[in-house]
Amino acid sequence: MDWFLQQLINGLALGAIYALIALGYTMVYGVLRFINFAHADVLMLGAFAAYYLAPAVAKVFGPATVPTALTVMVLSAAICAVIGMLIEFLAYRPLRHRPRLTVLITAIGVSLFIEYTGQHEKVFGAATKAFPTLLPQKEIIVGALRCSSNDLVVVGFTAVLLFAMWYIVQRTKVGMAMRAVSFNEQAASLMGVNVNGIISFTFAIGSALAAIGGIFFAMRAPGIEPLMGVQPGLRAFIAAVLGGIGNLPGAALGGVVLGLIETFFGGMPGLSDYRDAIAFALLILILLFRPAGLLGKMQMEKV
């Protein structure tokens, strides 16, 4: 039983990070109907921004304190928001009305560009770097169960950000404009919505989420390198699809489900080397029965 509960805690903590990253994928998809593959690399850039900012910020607030962590996160998120808007402006906007496949391939191109530029020794270099400790870490022990305070912080942050995103999309004017653009871009622009502005805003928020996801990911596994985004990015993308892409609570649910599946199968002797195969086979099964994802709604194609 202890074993089961411990794995549950491990899985939830991992799933929360996937969920956080998946939110970014889903936000952009919701508005633009395309997968921003560079999201995973913005995540990496977020972690590297924090890596370079942390020593400077630590001088002001002291190393590994809550204000340090918050300042680093806010600054990195801001940097990544700008990068996200730039990517959209330079790479995606010129292709806005081209076939969707063109944009998709461009997104993959942007992703590879960031990864391999980052590996150049004059940029970040290929070798793994040790990520600094941002938050004071405490172990929480209940009976035989253990959990790191960071894990709780991640789960808490994900919940708060999920609610914030939901609030922005459903309850604010900007959110209404986002939904309008998503529904029909042309009609929205005729109604006076600044389509370019809304899309930039969406990318800014998505990239800020990626940055925070990247920092949490780096706190959990404190070795960062330019390809670190690939694996969690892929998982989060799958999580977003599993939950129903374009659907915010769906992304969170998908992330948690994926985290749990991975942790439980990873922890079974004899099955641990099939962990990813089993996780992805289950996903295929789920999608066979619910093609729109767990919380997604089937949409009728207009003819």
Partner: protein, 377 residues
């Protein structure tokens, strides 16, 4: 349109010629492939630096057979598949007489068949998987192999750490890790110990808590993790986070300053076996450490640098004794290497074309690798 095609063809040809690294007749071209970027970059860079230093010293001392050695190197970015391209290019285009490389066994195993079928001798500095030299009679290495290293660690766990029940945590993506795990298991059970849990991970994973929780549940006294330094550091950190406090130990894949940079407190007190420790060596090792520090701005050489250095020296020695740069003659000379005084100890090449030499065991202490003991074969 036609003209454009014409120009692009001419352009491509010009590029092709420019890309050819010309070797003068008073130079002996030697190829090297290494993981200079990517996941195992610190290994590749270390061994590369050692090799470069050796070649420079050999050339300063007059070269071999009255010619200078010209080192042509390629990066495989730590990626599967790239080594084959690199080695093909070195042999076909640059016409190298021998190949040096790689540290990671999986990468060396990709290159070995190509060297073998071209009859170009290959000397691996640090690939310990036994399969490598089984590829053929042109493949050599200057390090010990996994059965030895696995057995050394098994005996160390059983006799020095006095452990009875241990777990093994293997990187299923890596031939090196699987090889070590297999021989550790054989050695440990033969010595009367018991393996209570065997779990796997994929090299490059960032989350190991699922597996670690399962290992902890089996209550081992120690865990053998024959992985590479980045993964090992993360594994040790996450083990501490779930309150799993037993010694972890592994092989030479641990040896990198990144292990302590990333792992910090979490890797303290753990052990690994490796090829050399600056504290254990003789005169030759001392001279090497000094020369290396001078060449690379005060950086201390690790085992991979020492092995990279040895691989180049042994090859140069073989070319000298062969009196020729023909593949089969160098091969025969390499196979006849006996008691060569290398940085990592006396090296003799045995019948399987592996090096017969001792291993050292070190402990991580205050962020440094402290010499514990030397184990002779």
């Amino acid at each position: 349109m036609k003209r454009r095609i014409f120009f692009s063809v001419v352009g491509a040809m010009a590029l092709g010629f420019a890309g050819c690294q010309k070797t003068a007749s008073n130079e002996i071209p030697v190829g090297e492939f290494a993981s200079l970027t990517g996941k195992e970059a610190t290994f590749g860079q270390s061994s590369h630096e050692g090799t470069v230093l050796a070649v420079e010293q050999i050339n300063e001392a007059g070269g071999v057979l009255g010619k200078k050695i010209k080192l042509l190197y390629e990066d495989n970015a730590s990626k599967p598949g790239e080594s084959a391209n690199a080695v093909n290019k070195l042999i076909a285009k640059d016409g190298v007489v021998a190949i040096l490389g790689e540290v990671a066994s999986s990468r060396s195993l990709e290159a070995a068949p190509i060297c073998q079928s071209n009859k170009i001798p290959m000397v691996s500095p640090a690939s310990t998987n036994p399969k490598l030299t089984e590829t053929g009679d042109y493949i050599f290495r200057v390090c010990f192999i996994d059965p030895f290293q696995g057995t050394v660690m098994a005996n160390f766990a059983k006799n020095s750490l006095k452990e009875q029940k241990v777990a093994i945590f293997t990187d299923v993506k890596s031939d090196y890790s699987k090889g070590l795990a297999k021989f550790f298991k054989e050695g440990f059970t033969k010595a009367g110990g018991q393996i209570v849990a065997e779990l796997d991970y994929n090299g490059g994973d960032k989350d190991f808590k699922g597996q670690l929780t399962a290992i902890k549940a089996a209550n081992p006294q120690g865990v053998f993790v024959p992985g590479y330094y980045t993964d090992v550091a993360l594994i040790c950190i996450q083990a501490k986070e779930i309150g799993f406090d037993v010694p972890f130990y592994g092989g030479d894949g641990w040896e990198s300053s990144k292990l302590t940079e990333i792992g910090k407190q979490a890797v303290e007190g753990n052990y690994f076996s490796t090829h050399y420790s600056p504290d254990a060596g003789g005169e030759k090792a001392k001279a090497f450490v000094e020369a290396y520090k001078k060449r690379y701005n005060g950086k201390s050489p690790d085992a991979m640098a020492a092995l990279g250095y040895d691989s180049a020296e042994i090859l140069a020695d073989a070319i000298k004794r062969a009196g020729s740069t023909e593949g089969d003659k160098i091969r025969d000379a390499l196979a006849a290497t006996k008691d060569f005084d290398a940085v990592t100890g006396k090296i003799s090449i045995n019948k399987q074309r592996d090096a017969d030499k001792a291993a050292v065991i070190v402990q991580v202490k205050d962020g440094k690798f402290e010499y514990k003991e030397t184990v002779k074969p």
